[in-house]
Each structure stands twice: as C-alpha cells, then as structure tokens.
C-alpha cells in the first residue's frame, strides 16, 4: 500500500512537469499585464522542435535549446502584436496556438513523412533518469529512505529543473527588483512609467522568461515523457496550466500545488490498481470516460472559482499607451 502511494505520487510528479513549467511561464507574462493563453502553442511548438533537433543532433540538450528558441519566438510574436502594436491579446494568443497547430504538422510531414509524427528518439537523445547519490544505499531505510529513492531520486533533468523553477520564480517575482517592476507593471503601468521605467521593456523581458519556460514544457513532452513528437500532443495542457496558475492566484507555490492536483488525476487514470478499486463502484465504460474527462472538468470547476476567488493583476490585458 505504502509503495503504491509512493508510486502514484512519483507518477504525479512526472506528469506535472509540463504543467509546472508552463504555469511558471504564465505567471511571468500575466504578472506583467500580458494575457497568455498562448502557452498551448508554445508547448506544442517546443515539443516539435525539441524532438526534431534532438533527432538531428542526437542530443536532448540541443533539443531543449531549440524548444526554448521557438518558445521565445512565439512569445515575441505575441509581444509584438499585443505590447508594441497594442492589439487584442486574446486574439493574438489564439492565433499563435492555431499557427503552432498547423506549422508543427506541416513541418513534421514534410521532413519525416510519418503522418505528423517525428522519428523515435534513442535513449541517448532523450532526458533519461538520473540517480541521485546514495539512493540505492538509503533504499531500505524506512520512510525517509523510501521517499528519497522512489520520489526524489531517479527523475530526468527536466523534472528537477521544473521544481527548481518554482522557487526561482517565487524569488524573482517577489524578492528581486525586477520582480517589483514586473508586478508594478501588471498592476499600475502608468505609475511605473512615471518612475522612468519602460513598461513595454519590462513586458518584453517577462515574455522572454515566459517563452523559455513555455518552450521547455514542450521539450519535456517529446524528449523526456515520450520519445517523439506527435500531432496535437499538448492536448490542452497549456490551457490547464493556465487554469492552475489562476487557481494559484498568480503565485508560484499555490500554482505548483494546483498543477500537482491536476497531474494526480492524470496519474490515477494510468494506474490499474486504482482503476480496479473504482471498478467495483462504477461501471467500467462510464468510469473510463469520466476519468478521461476529469482534468478538463476540474479545470472548469477551478476557473469558476469554487475554490476561492482569484483576483488577476489589475492591468491585465490592457495595452499600455502613454497618451491615454
């Protein structure tokens, strides 16, 4: 039983990585006052580029770099449209998501002719699990050793990066002077402008961080979780990450916990033991479709604010203009 719990938590952690990375990216953008529904597109683009570059170079790290690149390109497109040109931010995000949906499949088919898939990556070109020191030795040490062995050790590099990104985001947003500017830009851009800080520059800086994290979340899908890119592989995860961020009230740690909750739902779906347990209570077909739907339903419930009211940064979605 205890081992089962640990295994499910372990699976939860693995599944949560793209959510956590994307949610942190979302925090940077939205804290600066730029709406980011485009996480989905960055994730999809990142997943495709990571798998492709990793295939060409046979190195997951180059793949990651490529994913970060496409994430930044997409967030700069968003920035140009919504910060510089003061266009509608939601429209710009949806445009990027649909653009990414088309571009990835067109390129995948043109380059690999595999029906929107990229070639399977060998072990060397993926992020493989890393055993932390003393994991084997501590394995039989009750509770702490077990947690260390099952839960903390034995993940791939991106998992650790994701969970380092959380305190990093928290530190940047709430403790650094850049974070102060960032939050002020999102709450009251006019006041920031009067102090001589450029609102648009701050928003672009936030979007660069956003693109890096969004691209990385995609790389995890195709070079760590799976070993290839497949058409539409983000499957709404970018939107779910955004919902998690809103539930976390635009704060890194609560957002991370919301991501973990979503991932837990995905994790129990993949565990036959839990499934057998629930099978006794519900009919199988119904249970199957309910479990498939549950993350999406939970997203809606969360967004509807049934778990407390979420207050967005005040200037969110409003392009800044000095003349106004």
């Amino acid at each position: 039983m205890w081992t089962d719990v640990l295994l499910i938590l372990d699976a939860t952690l693995r599944i949560s990585v793209p959510f956590v990375l994307a949610a942190m990216g979302g925090i940077f953008a939205e804290r600066s006052g730029v709406i980011d529904f485009g996480l989905e597109g960055k994730m999809l683009g990142g997943a495709f580029v990571a798998a492709t570059v990793a295939h060409w170079t046979q190195s997951a790290w180059w793949g990651l770099l490529g994913a970060i690149g496409i994430g930044i390109i997409f967030s700069m497109m968003h920035g140009y449209a919504s910060v510089s040109k003061r266009g509608n931010q939601v429209v710009s995000c949806v445009a990027i998501n649909i653009f990414a949906m088309g571009l990835t499949v067109v390129l995948a088919n043109a380059w690999f002719h595999m029906g929107g898939k990229t070639p399977q990556l060998p072990r060397e070109a993926r992020f493989m699990s890393i055993d932390l020191p003393f994991a084997e030795e501590l394995r039989n040490f009750p509770i702490i050793g077990e947690i260390y062995y099952e839960l903390i050790s034995g993940h791939n590099a991106l998992v650790y990066i994701a969970f380092i990104a959380v305190p990093f985001t928290a530190w940047v947003v709430f403790k650094s002077s850049f974070g102060l500017r960032l939050r002020a830009t999102g709450e009251n851009p006019l006041a920031v402008d009067t102090t001589g800080i450029s609102v648009n520059k701050t928003r672009y800086q936030a979007l660069i961080l956003n693109g890096i994290l969004g691209g990385m979340s995609g790389a995890y899908l195709s070079t760590a979780h799976l070993a290839f890119f497949v058409k539409d592989m983000s499957a709404g995860k970018g939107y779910i990450a955004l919902a998690a961020m809103i539930v976390g009230k635009w704060r890194p740690y609560p957002a991370m916990f919301a991501c973990l909750l979503f991932s837990f739902l995905f994790a129990i779906k993949d565990k036959p033991e839990i499934f057998d347990l629930l099978k006794g209570i519900f009919p199988v077909k119904l249970l199957n479709s309910f479990l498939d739907m549950s993350p999406y339903i939970l997203t809606i419930i969360f967004l509807a604010g049934f778990v407390g009211r979420a207050v967005a940064p005040k200037a969110i979605g409003q392009p800044f203009s000095k003349e106004k």
Partner: protein, 363 residues
C-alpha cells in the same frame, strides 16, 4: 465619396493587405519546404474551381465555415471570444444524428425542422454552460470553451465506440440512416429543375446556411436583443446603466453561438456522411474564428471569408494530393496567420491606409 464609403474602402483595403501578408508568409513556408509557391497557388485554385467536382467540394466546405464563422461572430459582438465551436458542432451533430436514427422512417419535412431544433438545443446547451460560467462566475470563455471541446471529444469517442457502434462493425461510427432522412444533394435539387451537375457532397444545407447569414444579420442589427447584445459587447458598464442584463445577454449569446455551430452537424451528418462519425467537425470550429475575423464579423464578410476558406480547404486537399511534401494542415497554419494579421495586428497598416484614402477623398 462620403465618409461612410471611405470607411468601407479603408476596411476593405486593410483586410486585403492583412490577407496578402498571411498568404505571403505561407508562401515563404511553402518555398522553404523546397516547393514552388506559384505552382502551389495554381494547384489550389485549380482544385477549388477548375472542375465541377472541385467547386462542389469548395461550396460544401464553405457551408460549414458559414456556420462556425457566424458562431464566432455572434459571440464577438457580445464581447465574447467563443473558440468552442468545435465542441458545439460535435454535440450539435450528435443531436442531429440521434434524431435521424430515431425518426428515420418519418418524412424529411418533419425530420429536418426537428433536426434543426435539436442541433440548436444540443449545441446551444454546449455553448450556454461556458456562457453561464462566464456570466456568473467570471471564468474566461477561452479556457472553458476549450475544455468543453475536450469533454465533447471524450463523450463522442465513448458513445461511438461503445453505444452507437453496431455490434458487428469495427469502426467507431453509428449505422447509416434510412435514405428518407438524407438532405437532398445539390445535383438532385438541380435535377428537379432539369439541370445536370456533377455529384458532390454539396447539399441543400448550403441554401439553409445562406438563410442563416440573413437571419443573423437581421438579429444583430435589427432586433432589440441584437442591440442589447452589442451594447454589452462594446461597453458593459454602459449596458448595466441602461438596464440591460449583462449576464443574461452573455448566456443567450453563447447559446446562439452553440446553436449556429451545431448546424455543422446538419451539413456533415444529415447532408453528407448519413451517419454519426468520429471527428466530423475536426478543424471546422477553429476555422470559424479566422472566417469571422477576416469577414469583420459581419454576415456579408463572413460569406466571402467562408468561401475563401472553402477554396483553401478544397485547394489545400488538391495540393497535398499533388505535392507530397505539403500537408493538408497548411491551411491551419494559414488560419493562424490570418487570425494574427486580421485580428491581433489589424491596425498594423491602418494609419497608412487611412492616410491614403484621405488623400483620394480630398482629390
């Protein structure tokens, strides 16, 4: 030239420039894949217009895009960004299909109105729920409608593979309806008048879609509800001050959106496949966003834009058939660019165009 005409000219020029920009970048993508963009354009145009069958398919796709384009436009006038036409069409189509399966022995004259009603109700409910969450709980409709797309997809996969699939069949789709409830295809309708045209999936729904364009035009600009809805879309606080219920309008607008999207099911299921199929709505809902934005959210513009995307779809299919390196999804990429340029960057060249038009007017 008066001011009104000048405005129309500005809007038309800006739209054309935005479209050309989107096509230009798509051309670069084609060129970078090692293919000739001009040849691609030629192939697409030939595929869409060059022969009777191509034209039929083009108009068949146009019918779908009119529905989803309108489904986006109605919401947009109410200040909503409905990107859930995909799921609304799916569920609306489910309603249409169930009615056809249930009443397949009845006359089409009874089944057709019932099917229209069912798709309005089914699609409408699928739109109204996110509308309710938006109006009462403030959840952003972009995320909730996307979630409803995924939920619709899960429901349909399970229904089609477990409930509606005939026992001995392998593929997840329902059985075929009796021929009596099929919507007559265009070549049959032309036949009644003694005219011969090639058989294509184009069917009577096309005429219905034109009727919808007209009705939505009347609804938005000539009814008091349309006025209320546009007021909410332009200025919520002004609407509240004028005694207009914002939440009621949002919910109704989303329901109307869903109902319009549901008509895709009539064209696809009653008019063409004659059975409920998996993913019959794939991509049509998202295309509606581009159609509506490039059509300036006006039924007349939507008609032209739907035709444009009909051409792109049919021509794109022809192109991917002719040129192996270019995938059908090229049209999705073009959609993204169109939404970017016609929606988010619509003011990119507007100042210059306005300047230019002003000069003409003065002359």
């Amino acid at each position: 030239m008066n001011e009104n005409q000048a405005n129309v000219l500005v809007v038309t020029l800006v739209t054309i420039i935005n479209l050309l920009l989107a096509f230009f970048i798509s051309g670069i993508v084609i060129w970078s894949l090692g293919e000739d963009p001009w040849f691609a354009l030629e192939t697409m145009l030939y595929g869409a217009f060059g022969y009777d069958e191509g034209l039929g398919y083009t108009l068949y796709y146009t019918t779908n895009f009119i529905f989803t384009g309108l489904a986006f436009a109605v919401g947009f006038h109410c200040g909503l960004f409905n990107i859930g036409a995909e799921g609304q069409a799916y569920i609306g189509g489910l309603g249409v299909g169930l009615i056809c399966l249930w009443l397949e022995d009845w006359s089409l004259w009874i089944v057709f109105p019932l099917a229209v009603l069912t798709s309005i109700v089914a699609g409408g409910i699928w739109g109204a729920i996110p509308g309710y969450f938006k109006a009462k709980r403030g959840s952003h409709e972009v995320v909730t409608t996307i979630m409803f797309n995924f939920i619709a997809s899960v429901i349909m996969v399970n229904l089609l593979s477990h409930v509606l699939r005939p026992p001995k069949e392998m593929s997840p789709e329902s059985r075929e309806f009796a021929e009596g409830v099929w919507i007559p295809q265009m070549h049959e309708i032309f036949n009644w008048f003694g005219l011969e045209i090639t058989q294509t999936p184009l069917n009577g729904t096309f005429i219905f879609s034109i009727l919808c364009l007209f009705l939505v035009w009347r609804l938005i600009w000539f009814t008091s509800w349309g006025y209320e809805m546009r007021t909410v879309g332009i200025n919520e606080s002004a609407a509240v001050y004028a005694g207009i219920s914002v939440s009621r309008n949002i919910i109704i607008a989303m329901a109307v959106c869903g109902g319009l999207a549901g008509f895709v099911g009539i064209n696809e299921i009653m008019g063409s496949s004659h059975r409920i199929m998996l993913n019959f709505q794939a991509g049509i809902g998202f295309t509606g966003i581009a159609v509506s934005l490039i059509g300036r959210n006006h039924p007349f513009g939507i008609m032209l834009a739907a035709l444009l995307f009909g051409i792109l779809y049919q021509g794109g299919a022809e192109l991917s058939f002719e040129v192996q390196a270019i995938d059908r999804h090229l049209v999705v990429l073009i959609q993204g660019l169109v939404i970017l340029f016609a929606g988010a960057l619509e003011n990119l060249f507007r100042p210059q165009v306005e300047q230019y038009v002003k000069q003409i007017v003065r002359r």
